[in-house]
Structure formats: structure tokens, C-alpha cells
Symmetry: C2
Subunit: 150 residues, 2 copies
DNA sequence: GCTGAAAGCGAAGCGTG
DNA sequence: CACGCTTCGCTTTCAGC
């Protein structure tokens, strides 16, 4: 794991479909060497995968919210699994982070209407482990996934 | 923009490097048709780009925090631009969301040591528009970018 | 369908620790 | 010797028209 590996990671993070040949030119090593390094980085999990970045706001799903949650439970894993299994008709749970501080965790959720959030919260509070939630609407995304809206 | 487009988006969101041929098989249309639809989705910005998902925690940068910020200013854009221009030596600003509610915005930041956060906050509060911040550490990421750690 | 580009694979040679 | 990089060629697959 040297400086060249880090350069490759930064390039692929920005342009996930960059060809090995292009990468080779940019970091000044040969194409097979790039292949070898990328394969290694994928194998050991530094590169977790490749994604297309979709702007769901251009479709029906224009609302994003943070839902802060307090839980009291034996197994954090178990309640998290239950929460992540909640199905959103027109939306998705984008993120679930365990937090230090006042709140135990935060969810980032994308939906198409406030009603979807209501339904989600109703389902969330059926879990006895969940004893408090707080929902904060995202007004606009100024920077995300390496894209700035400025 | 029909159901097939949505299927294609979901496939590419999960597997950013899926070939047109594979997509065609999965959604039951021909390869040129896939080409046409993907090109259209890229052109009109529904597909914003392609990214490799990098696990920076496997390198030096193991800490992620949310920094909530209150600002009072004429131009939100301007102060946001200034904040996003803050350089982090061993880290990055991953996200900047404008919020409804008590806090004006939240930043998600990745760094390698608490000192980096200190430096970042020190720089943040030099801006006269910023009048309050609150930093919350992320203990663990349970779900992000379509990856679950359960 | 055709063409060109790229990935994936292996072989052989080179320099360094 | 082991390791990583390089150059080369080959085949398969894919993108773009």
C-alpha cells in the first residue's frame, strides 16, 4: 500500500470507470501493473465495489431526511437489522450510522412524500427497543458523493 | 422514463460496471436498446457519474464525524463554498447538507485523527458567519452506499 | 453486424532487497 | 531467490456506430 495505490484509489473514487490504460498513464506505471494493483485492492476490500450515482430527486423521490433514533436494547445488531428490513415503497434507507452522544443512531432516508416518512416512523416505533426519534428534513444537498451543487 | 429505466438505474446503482449485455438480459431488452437508454439517462443527468466505493477506514483515515453548523449570512452559497474549500490534509468533506430545523447544515467529514477535526473546527469558526457548531462522532457505519455491515 | 478499444491472461526479461 | 514492474502478444468481451 504505497502512494501509487492511494493515487489509484482517488482516481477510481472520482471516475469509477477509468480504464487501466488511462490510470497507467496518470500514475506512470504500465497497464498490467495497474491491473495487478487494482485486483489486489479489490481482493483485500479497500475497493468495496463500483456504483453508478443516481439522482433520485430527478425521479419521484425528492425528499431526504435524517431520522435520529434512541434505542435501549441488548443487541444493537439485532435492532439495526430489524430497522434496515423496514420496506419503503417509493424510497430507501440510504445510510445508518451508530453515533456517540445524545442519539444512538441516525438514518438517512429517501422518499417521495411526507406520508412515506409517517409510515416509516409508525413502523419504527412498533419496536419496543426504540424509545425516541427525531426527524430533520434535508433542504438541499450542497455536496455529496464528490458532487458539489454550487 | 418507464419501469425499465428504473430497473436499469437500480442495477447500475448496485453494480456500476455491469455491461450493457448483462443489463439487457436482466431487463429483457436488446443490447442496443440498453445503450440508448443508458446514454439518455447519462445525458439528462439522472445518472450523475460512476464511482468506486473506497473503504478509507482500511487506510489511515478511520474517523468520521458529523459537524452541525449554524450560520447567519446573506448568501448561503457563499459561506458553503468557503467551508467546502477548507483543505483537510488526511481527510475529506464527504457531505454537506442544508437542513430544516435547529441546525442550518451538517457536514460529514472523514479524518485520520481527532487533531484534524480540531484544525477543521478552528478554521470553520474563523468565518464570521458561523456562530455555532456541534460535532458528533460516528462509532460505526451499519449501512452506507448499499453496503450493510451486519 | 462490424470495428476499435479495453479487459484479462500468460510468458519472458529486468532490477532491487 | 522473491518480488514487483515492464514489454509483448493473444483471446474474449464490450462499446459505439
Amino acid at each position: 500500500m504505497d502512494e501509487i495505490d492511494v493515487q489509484i484509489l482517488k482516481l477510481l473514487e472520482r471516475t469509477g470507470r477509468l480504464s487501466h490504460e488511462e490510470i497507467g498513464k496518470l500514475v506512470h506505471i504500465s497497464r498490467p501493473a495497474v491491473h495487478q494493483r487494482v485486483a489486489k485492492l479489490e481482493k483485500n476490500g479497500v475497493i468495496k465495489g463500483y456504483r453508478a450515482i443516481i439522482d433520485w430527486r430527478m425521479l419521484e423521490q425528492k425528499i431526504q431526511v435524517f431520522i435520529f433514533v434512541k434505542v435501549k436494547c441488548q443487541s444493537f445488531q439485532q435492532i439495526t437489522a430489524k430497522i434496515l428490513n423496514i420496506t419503503l415503497e417509493n424510497g430507501a434507507i440510504l445510510e445508518c450510522q451508530r453515533l456517540a452522544g445524545e442519539w444512538c443512531m441516525v438514518l438517512k432516508v429517501r422518499v417521495s412524500s411526507p406520508d412515506d416518512i409517517t409510515r416509516f416512523l409508525d413502523e419504527l416505533v412498533t419496536f419496543s427497543e426504540v424509545y425516541e426519534t427525531s426527524t430533520t428534513f434535508i433542504l438541499s444537498t450542497l455536496h455529496e458523493n464528490g458532487f458539489s451543487e454550487l
